[in-house]
């Protein structure tokens, strides 16, 4: 299995584009997730579609409330109902529509074929179980292996994620470990059952920058080595630039731009992406000028109208933007998509300057 995936990964990489004749590993089609709140219906995910190829790293980037985390939780059907509900859409994963599986089948997917790494390892690990038990439990549940085999595999997994002294660590509880070690444990659990895909939701946001670098380098090394695809959800544009092959930019529940990291950073075709890249100061250059912020606030998701949600903050908005939401359409580089009526006029070299 791993060998096949490795070949597939290599193929995809040599062809240097998405979907080199192979079906994608994951295909999200028109996914909608709503929350019913006192203030009205919040369309947290409002019709998103994207694909992930085997072995590929795809970033979902956006600010708070853009729907990036909800979209990832929706893939695994982890939306609490009520108040949340996945109202439409397909999630094809390795040939099956995850939205149609029974709860029992879905449980086998979560932590089995799809691993998860969350932001806050302290709240996602069980405080009263040892590290070892949390890893072996996953293995026993999904693989049906006996305790001894699970123990051996747990030691092996800790080695894989760079934790020395595995025997001692397996007997410890989460509170005895640092944030960085806990996140390594999360990665070990995510990898325990040889997943094809790992979903990492802000995996390093709670960590210090030197530890963040250790964890991200480790995830990159292991996903490459094992041919595992990775969806990384983040607000950090630097992390995206370093680790992602393709990027989906989300705003107000929709993907507004999508493409390779290179295309999006060097020739963005959506006003939000352009503005986002211009609003961050650069560490690698002396200060050039005042920052160019995006004026205004993100919209209230209960009050969205039929027009483009970015329109009130957009410098390029025209009358048509109030009439309909622009669909994702090809713009810029091959494979690049932008949801803007004026994407063809926005040929700027942002990020520079």
């Amino acid at each position: 299995m791993t060998g096949l995936q490795g070949i597939a990964t290599n193929l995809v990489q040599t062809m240097n584009g998405r979907n080199a004749g192979l079906p994608p590993l994951l295909e999200v089609q028109d996914l909608h997730t709503e929350f019913r709140t006192g203030a009205g219906i919040v369309r947290a995910v409002d019709g998103i579609s994207y694909t992930v190829d085997p072995g590929e790293t795809v970033a979902i980037v956006g600010e708070s409330g853009s729907g990036k985390s909800v979209s990832a939780l929706s893939l695994l059907r982890l939306i609490p109902d009520p108040p949340g509900r996945i109202t439409a859409g397909e999630v094809m994963f390795a040939g099956r529509n995850l939205m149609k599986l029974s709860e029992e089948e879905m449980r086998r997917v979560r932590g089995g074929e799809i691993g998860m790494v969350f932001q806050e390892p302290m709240t996602s690990l069980n405080p009263v179980l040892t590290i070892g038990r949390q890893i072996t439990e996953t293995l026993e549940q999904h693989r049906g292996v006996d305790r001894a085999a699970a123990d051996r595999r747990a030691v092996e997994l800790l080695g894989l994620v760079g934790i020395a002294d595995a025997k001692r660590r397996l007997e410890q509880y989460p509170h005895q470990l640092s944030g960085g070690l806990r996140q390594r444990i999360m990665i070990a659990i995510a990898l325990a059952c040889d997943p094809k895909l790992i979903i990492a939701d802000e995996p390093t946001t709670a960590l210090d920058v030197t530890i963040q670098a250790q964890i991200l380098e480790l995830m990159q090394k292991l996903t490459r080595q094992l041919g595992v695809a990775l969806i990384i959800i983040t607000h950090n544009l630097g992390v995206v630039a370093r680790y992602a092959q393709r990027v989906n930019v989300m705003y107000a529940g929709r993907i507004v731009e999508s493409g390779t990291a290179g295309a999006l950073y060097h020739n963005p075709r959506h006003p939000y992406t352009i503005a986002l890249l211009r609003s961050v100061p650069r560490l690698d250059r002396p200060r050039q000028a005042r920052l160019d912020p995006i004026e205004g606030q993100p919209p209230d998701l209960t009050l969205l109208d039929r027009g483009c949600s970015f329109r009130p903050r957009c410098r390029f908005a025209i009358a048509a933007c109030a009439e309909a939401k622009p669909p994702l359409a090809p713009a810029g580089a091959p494979g690049q998509l932008s949801a803007c009526f004026r994407s063809h006029e926005l040929d700027v070299t942002a990020g520079a300057a």
Partner: protein
């Protein structure tokens, strides 16, 4: 911009130590050690300057800020503010000082009282310090401050929960300005904000600095924000300053191995730059400040450490003009 180095600094910190006792036992509490949050720091801030103070969690940067605000009484050392040692002031003397030194906190959610209207939040410092005693004039001043901070003056009648994170941070800034301070400690003032809002607040802080001749101590872990906003920067590690220089010197030509590791760990928002850049993340984690390593506190993680680093604590040395580093190996 830069006054001559001889001009008297606005703030001068000498040999500052802040140790928090660690105790054990439920009834008979035994003192078993100290968290050495700040362990011998010297620092000056010039009038009108913005000094960045950077480092990872637990390095002591926030404790430094709290000592300068005298929210903590330092264990040892001097904090000379305009020539007066504020580490030794009593309560009454501190009140006068607090009109001149203000603070902006990280979290715009927990630093505003949810039961107070914005107008009363911003007006309160004036009442406490007896400026603008006339209620009508105070209301006018609150409206003016809101407007200076880019908010509609009518927000005075709102509660914090009716506002977004960026708007709340503007209220926190308006409150800090209420007494016309000359020095503001910004403790992670933009860290909790989304990037599009963060840029708005950074620009506001710059505008206010120019308009009111403010001096900032800008405590942050986001190095790119510090490079953008500050003139000089001090890098802290485990309670000590390991490097201090003009911003561009630190970011373009770092000297201390920790600073190099820290800068190398930050990915830049440019895939072309990142594709070229190979780096080896620094191994290990920050040791406990209760029992810091002997000698140089960074030696267990340092790639260039020699035997002496385990023994001798390096002092800050001026290795280049105006560029200080606490490392005995780099030259």
């Amino acid at each position: 911009m830069m006054a001559s180095a001889e001009a008297q600094p606005l703030l001068e910190v000498r040999g500052l130590r802040m140790h928090f006792p660690v105790t054990e036992g439920m009834i008979a509490r035994r003192h078993i050690g100290d968290v050495k949050a700040v362990d011998g720091v010297d620092l000056t801030i010039r009038r009108g300057e913005t000094l960045g103070l950077v480092g990872e969690s637990g390095c002591g940067k926030t404790t430094m800020g709290r000592c300068i605000l005298r929210l903590e009484k330092p264990t040892a050392g001097e904090i000379l503010y305009d020539g007066v040692d504020i580490a030794k002031l009593d309560r009454r003397e501190l009140v006068a000082l607090r009109r001149r030194i203000q603070v902006i906190f990280q979290d715009p959610y927990s630093s505003l009282n949810p039961r107070q209207k914005v107008g009363s939040i911003i007006g309160e410092p004036m009442m406490v310090h007896g400026v603008e005693k006339d209620a009508k004039r105070r209301t006018e001043r609150v409206r003016e401050l809101l407007s200076v901070c880019g908010l509609n003056p009518n927000f005075a009648d709102r509660y914090p929960h009716e506002m977004s994170g960026g708007q709340r941070q503007r209220v926190g800034i308006a409150r800090a300005l209420a007494l016309n301070p000359e020095f503001i400690v910004c403790d992670e003032a933009v860290s909790a904000l989304d990037v599009s809002i963060q840029a708005q607040i950074i620009n506001l802080l710059e505008d206010l600095r120019d308009k009111f001749n403010l001096t900032y101590l800008f405590i942050a872990h986001d190095l790119s924000v510090v490079r953008h906003l500050c003139q000089r920067v001090a890098v802290m590690y485990l309670g000590r300053v390991v490097e201090l220089a003009e911003c561009d010197d630190v970011f373009d030509h770092p000297l201390h191995p920790y600073t190099k590791a820290l800068l190398g760990a930050v990915p830049v928002p440019d895939p072309a730059v990142e594709a070229e850049r190979a780096f080896q993340p620094v191994a290990g984690e920050v040791p406990s400040p209760i029992n810091p390593p002997p000698g140089c506190v960074f030696h267990p993680r340092c790639s260039i450490a020699i035997a002496n680093c385990r023994v001798t604590r390096p002092e800050l040395r001026e290795l280049r003009p105006g560029h200080w580093a606490a490392c005995d190996v780099v030259t």
